[in-house]
């Protein structure tokens, strides 16, 4: 046999002399010198595995699909709503009151600003009243009694120019105490 190397011949690699890996290979067992090397690999592997597991666990808790009402919906044409009325037709489905006055229309979000219960509209007393702790709001949404710290929030409301329907977008909210109710997106002019 010649010394020539054929493609299928395995050439034993010489490990880097004196390296920890070389020692393991030479002696076939863990020595005092190579132990920190082995330990580092072991702990790194364990940390990577646990880190991967933790990130999978964390990501799994955030669903890709939600089974809840959409944030933005069409509420029909303006003519469906009569002047001076608090309209409750979207309360159960989307959590919105649509209020029409002589001048404007606005969409109130049905979440009490105290602790998040859903107030009731009491037409005879002309106010929203929260059953949990008794917060009261005028029909404008401004609080006047009970523990509520600030007015109800209004949602973005506009008329879709394509079909003339009102669109309510709950993902955009307007706070009265921040002066946002003057924003033209927060109401419709009659």
């Amino acid at each position: 046999m010649s010394e020539e190397i054929t493609p299928y011949q395995v050439v034993p690699k010489t490990p880097l002399a004196g390296s920890a890996a070389a020692e393991i290979r030479d002696q076939g067992e863990i020595t005092r010198r190579s132990f920190p090397f082995v330990l580092t690999i072991a702990w790194t592997t364990l940390a990577a595995a646990l880190g991967g597991l933790a990130s999978i666990l964390g990501r799994f808790l955030f669903p890709n699909v939600l089974f809840e009402p959409v944030q933005k919906f069409k509420a029909g044409p303006v003519a469906d709503y009569s002047v001076g009325e608090v309209d409750e037709r979207w309360k159960d489905k989307y959590g919105i009151w649509i209020v029409r006055t002589e001048d404007i229309m606005y969409a109130l979000i049905t979440v009490c600003t105290h602790l998040g219960c859903t107030p009731n509209w009491l037409p005879s007393q002309n106010k929203f009243k929260c059953p949990c702790h008794g917060s009261g709001y005028y029909r404008t949404g401004v609080n006047f009694e009970g523990p509520a710290p600030r007015p109800l929030e209004r949602a973005k409301i506009y008329v879709d120019p394509a079909d003339g329907n009102i669109v309510v977008d709950k993902s955009v909210q307007f706070h009265q105490e921040r002066g946002e109710w003057t924003n033209p997106d927060s109401f419709l002019k009659a």
Binding site: I56, L57, R59, F60, L61, F62, P63, N64, V65
Partner: protein, 261 residues
């Protein structure tokens, strides 16, 4: 550098650190012994393991693999419970959503393949224990605990089989639960059940026998689904966990993993 040392000493001498690591740095023989005695890991894992106990060709590591797969099933199963509802309206759509919509659609597949692997691993473990004669005294009690654990493993697979609530699941459980009809004394078609009578009236019939109690009715229905879900997620895992604790404890107390003679 001095500040770093101060910080280190401050941490090591703090009450929080001392409450976790009772012994402190084990720099004397006495402290080393106390560290070993007080270590949770060395409480769960033997301080000493025989050379044959870590030889794969002898143990096959199938007991450890079974336990590892049980942990995999516990973790993946717990995660599946966040998305699965055991009612006939939602069970099948939720299974589909777990594959198509939930993050990591592989989670359910891992749970299913893990279950198959666990059954295989438990069988191989028993086979190894049998072939090495490790069921002999003083380990005969632990063999019996192991037999019960095998049955619980199979019951976990059986109860999990129904949960997707597809045709395969429903008919498989229909067929499988029919075996309970033949329970001696307690199934309406079983031996001796006909002897339990009040005058001419048979007390064990299709409306009150063992199968009725297992599936919560005369045929597979919503109550079966709920029952199997509770058995699958709570009752059987708790029983298996309890028996596993005994099983591992007895492995240690009966002289560790058996070795060659």
């Amino acid at each position: 550098m001095a500040n770093l040392r101060q910080l280190q000493e401050g941490i090591v001498n703090s009450q929080i650190w001392k409450s976790i690591f009772r012994v402190g740095i084990p720099n004397t023989n006495r402290k080393r012994v106390l560290a070993v005695l007080g270590s949770l890991i060395l409480h769960l894992h033997p301080v000493k393991v025989r050379r044959s106990g870590v030889r794969m060709s002898y143990t096959w590591c199938m007991g450890g693999t079974s336990f590892f797969l049980f942990l995999v099933e516990t973790v993946t199963g717990l995660l599946l419970m966040f998305y699965y509802r055991p009612t006939i309206e939602y069970a099948y759509p939720d299974i589909m959503d777990l594959r198509e919509q939930a993050p990591f659609g592989i989670m359910r597949e891992m749970h299913r393949w893990g279950a198959h692997a666990m059954v295989i691993a438990v069988w191989l473990h028993m086979f190894r224990v049998f072939m090495t004669g490790s069921y002999k005294p003083p380990r005969e009690f632990n063999w019996n605990v192991g037999v019960v654990l095998l049955v619980l493993t199979l019951l976990l697979s059986f109860t999990g089989y129904l949960l997707p609530w597809d045709q395969l699941a429903i008919w498989a459980i229909t067929v499988g639960s029919n075996m309970a009809r033949a329970t001696p004394g307690a199934g309406n078609e079983g031996p001796m059940s006909g002897l339990i009578k009040l005058g001419d009236i048979r007390l064990i019939h299709a409306g009150d026998d063992a199968r009725f109690a297992l599936i919560g009715g005369r045929s597979i229905g919503p109550s079966t689904l709920l029952r199997f879900y509770v058995l699958h997620c709570m009752a059987i895992p708790l029983a298996a966990g309890f028996l596993m604790a005994i099983h591992f404890w007895r492995v240690r107390k009966d002289g560790g993993i058996s070795g060659p003679m």
